[in-house]
């Protein structure tokens, strides 16, 4: 093999030993599972690769796999930036990830049950009561309610990173409306078309079974007494940034995509308005946030929800996926207690590492955070999408002071973690017409239903496209990669 870094596409690749490079074990040593793939990329000229790259982007655009950006006068469609160099995960590594994320999802589900019922974990002093009481995502309306089949977090998205020690760490658990699975499947399609020669040489698990498994999960939590449940997805509408995903999932499952205005409640049941009149709805995968699902109970001015929906849910006549109030468990402050939560409910040690987390509501930890902000990542506990994150070593003195002020004003709102060294992966940078190393993470997708424990064998590898940036969220300009999980 030629010196890999002399190949035109890799000529500006900077191997940085401070981080775990997913492709290079050493500067001139390609990791075993990547060798075949790398050889293929080594054969491409820059112009050939540019052509493939443009074709892949065009196919996303023409297929409408886009999100909308609102300018002053018009709406522009953009594709979620996509990189053709896939990430590969071997089966042994995957086994750890899969059992680890499943373990977390199950523990979170048991935690949610407990939080909304006996609160034993609080009474035993393992998780402080104040964290639950002060969580904006805790819904008192859910207390003592038994969701169908005891499942709260039917769908979980777990964000993982690989640190410089080669170990996976969980960054956060997303159990409200985790997005991104449609891009996992879209990315796979684009890579299969572009790299069909090499794809045949890797025995990769499929990702196209997600829709069937999701439908199975939805059907498994149908209300009592219903034989053939009518399942729907509830979307906020065409202007929602994840609308493509909502359509995609509805299509994959062959179920209807509804908006709040298509549904109404009468006689304690939910109905949808069809061309032949009304039809009862039994299971709703709602992609509308908790506080918007029912204006009679939550935000009165919400036009996205259905008046009366929540009371039908409480009566057991409709199932909501994910259950309202799950957000209390993906609060970043609760994340701090995940090892204890797993131990308490499952009597197991955590399979996946937590990133050491300082909670600003604890006095000692608050002091440490305030004194060491330049070495820490500070995150608000209730935000998502990468909003509100401050990375200490990128801040100016003034910015550090500002972050300190914010934390002092509301310590409960913030956690801090050491700045983790996210692994890097070769990513094609259009402007330089070559591959450069960029930080990546991995979002996995887990389903829980009645007798269903499923982890999609793949995931969304998100890439921070800006050099040196550690924030990979698409809302912060991140891109994505196809992720291959190899079979045994």
């Amino acid at each position: 093999m030629k010196d890999p870094l002399n190949l035109p596409l890799f000529s500006s690749y900077e191997f940085d030993s401070r981080f775990y490079d997913e492709l290079f074990a050493k500067r001139d040593d390609i990791r075993g599972i990547y060798k075949t793939l790398f050889e293929l990329f080594g054969t491409y000229s820059v112009s050939e690769f540019n052509r493939l790259n443009i074709q892949a982007k065009d196919s996303f655009f023409n297929s409408g796999i886009t999100f909308q950006v609102y300018g002053e006068n018009e709406v522009n469609e953009k594709i979620f930036p996509f990189d053709l160099f896939p990430r590969i995960i071997d089966h042994e590594e995957w086994e750890t990830i899969e059992t680890g994320v499943l373990q977390r999802s199950k523990a979170l589900n048991l935690f949610l049950w407990d939080v909304y019922h006996d609160q034993k974990i609080i009474k035993q002093g393992i998780v402080p009561k104040s964290l639950i009481d002060s969580s904006v995502n805790f819904l008192p309306e859910m207390i003592n309610f038994d969701p169908p089949e005891g499942v709260y977090n039917h769908i979980s998205g777990t964000d993982l990173i690989k640190h410089s020690d080669g170990q996976y760490y969980v960054l956060e658990d997303n159990i409200r409306c985790p997005s991104g699975v449609s891009y996992v499947i879209g990315n796979r399609g684009a890579v299969k078309h572009a790299l069909f020669g090499v794809f045949n040489q890797y025995k990769t698990h499929t990702v196209v079974n997600y829709g069937s498994k999701l439908l199975e999960t939805m059907q498994s939590v149908k209300p009592t007494g219903v034989d053939n449940p009518v399942c729907v997805i509830l979307t906020p509408g065409v202007y929602n940034s994840a609308y493509y995903e909502h359509c995609f999932l509805a299509k994959q499952m062959g179920i209807l995509l509804v908006e709040g205005r298509d549904l109404f409640v009468e006689n304690d049941f939910v109905y949808m308005k069809t061309i032949y009149g009304i039809e009862k709805v039994d299971v709703i995968y709602r992609r509308v946030d908790d506080l918007y699902i029912d204006p009679l109970v939550f935000k009165a001015d919400s036009l996205l929800g259905v008046p009366g929906l929540f009371s039908v849910y409480l009566k057991g006549n409709v199932a909501l996926v994910n259950a309202p109030g799950t957000g209390v468990a993906d609060d970043k402050a609760i994340y701090t207690y995940m090892p204890e939560i797993i131990k308490y409910y499952l009597d197991e040690d955590p399979i996946l590492n937590n990133v050491h987390t300082y909670h600003c509501s604890r006095k000692n930890e608050l002091n440490y955070v305030l004194e060491n902000i330049d070495k820490l990542v500070v995150k608000p506990v209730d935000e998502s999408g990468g909003y509100g994150i401050s990375i200490g070593n990128k801040l100016t003195k003034d910015e550090i002071e500002k972050v300190k002020e914010n934390i002092k004003k509301d310590p409960r709102k913030y956690i801090a973690q050491p700045i983790m060294s996210l692994s890097t992966h070769p990513t094609y940078i259009d402007d330089n017409e070559s591959f450069e190393s960029r930080h990546v993470d991995l979002r996995t997708f887990t389903l829980l239903g009645k007798d269903i424990n499923f982890v999609l064998k793949g995931g969304l590898t998100r890439v921070a496209l800006k050099k040196g940036n550690l924030v990979v969220n698409s809302s912060q300009g991140g891109g994505s990669k196809d992720t291959w999980v190899l079979k045994k």
């Binding site: 023409n62 409408g64 065409v238 209807l256 009468e266 109905y271 308005k273 061309i275 009149g277 009304i278």
Partner: protein
């Protein structure tokens, strides 16, 4: 199928059909006029007025001078003019997006591709040199979309709703094209009498509806007023005639309507009634009062669209209202 989504599909069909007719009218009128047999038919103002009459339903005062580039821009690519072709595709796309989970991937992608292509078409090219290219892209694109409707959708109620939209719009557009060209023919006749090539306007009319070859094969005679109108209004075998559009509407409303008895004044009843009335209609009954006939036809089709909305697309109803119905 959700009532709201059915409405979206119905309008997607209508916008696609409308865009196709406007583009074809634009192309045929503009290019055939370049070597028209008389000075009036060759006149830019006459052609531009005809285009505005058909596409925007606008009669322009004779003292207003129309700018060719402005008319082409407004009819083709001006997002702010509600009747433009680009707007038709933007609306069709929005409607398709709202029903994306119900239509085939192939159909959505065809609509998506053409919307991007039309929206990105350079204005400069359209108004200065490439009107033919632009209108051909539109014709090919609509043809591709319709082929996807035909071949990638189950022929169930989703398909029937789209086809209802297409056929109701076809009836309306053909009626408007007839109005426009008959008006052109009358103006030419008033000035030149029968001395000029009398076939020209009727040939153009047939070409505007894409029915010239079919008409020649059917009649084996040169087109003139009566046989052209008879063909376009009453020939059931011509897929673009009014009669055929009505027959198709009747077929698709029967697919959707589950009731054997059609309540009086329902969309299904009105379509059935109109279809029956057309069954034994003669061109002699129409020709003398053509203007009145087309105006009435347009009104009736518009009324059917309103009834369809009431019967199938209404999302204001609840359990009680539906039970009473």
């Amino acid at each position: 199928m959700l009532a709201r989504v059915a409405n979206n599909l119905f309008w997607m069909g209508r916008y696609i059909e409308r865009s196709e007719h406007v583009a074809r009218f634009l192309r045929v009128n503009y290019f055939s006029s370049l070597d028209a047999p008389d000075e009036l038919s060759q006149s830019r103002q006459f052609v531009l007025r005809s285009i505005m009459y058909m596409s925007a339903n606008e009669i322009i005062d004779s003292d207003i001078i129309l700018e060719e580039e402005e008319v082409l821009y407004n009819v083709g690519l001006n997002i702010d003019s509600p009747y433009s072709i680009v707007n038709g595709f933007i609306n069709a796309h929005e409607n398709a997006r709202s029903a994306r989970d119900l239509i085939s991937t192939e159909l959505f992608e065809a609509v998506n591709r053409v919307k991007h292509a039309i929206k990105g078409y350079p204005v400069e090219k359209l108004v200065k040199s490439q009107l033919y290219d632009f209108t051909t892209i539109v014709s090919n694109a609509t043809s591709d979309i319709k082929s996807k409707i035909q071949s990638t959708l189950l022929h169930d109620e989703v398909y029937a709703i789209i086809m209802l939209g297409i056929n109701i719009e076809r009836g309306l557009q053909v009626a408007r094209i007839i109005n426009s060209k008959v008006s052109d023919a009358s103006t030419v006749k008033k000035i030149y009498g029968d001395l000029v090539d009398g076939n020209y306007q009727w040939v153009t009319l047939l070409k505007c509806v894409l029915a010239y070859d079919m008409m020649r094969r059917s009649y084996k005679k040169a087109p003139e007023r009566t046989n052209t109108l008879e063909f376009l209004i009453l020939n059931a075998k011509c897929p673009r005639s009014i009669k055929n559009s009505l027959n198709q509407m009747n077929k698709y409303i029967c697919m959707i309507s589950k009731q054997h008895e059609k309540p009086v004044n329902s969309a299904a009843f009105l379509i059935g009634k109109m279809t029956s009335q057309f069954k034994y209609k003669l061109i002699e009954e129409i020709d003398d009062n053509l203007e009145e006939f087309t105006a009435e036809l347009i009104d009736k089709l518009a009324n059917i669209a309103v009834k369809l909305e009431e019967d199938y697309f209404d999302i204001s109803h609840t359990l009680d209202v539906k039970a009473k119905a």
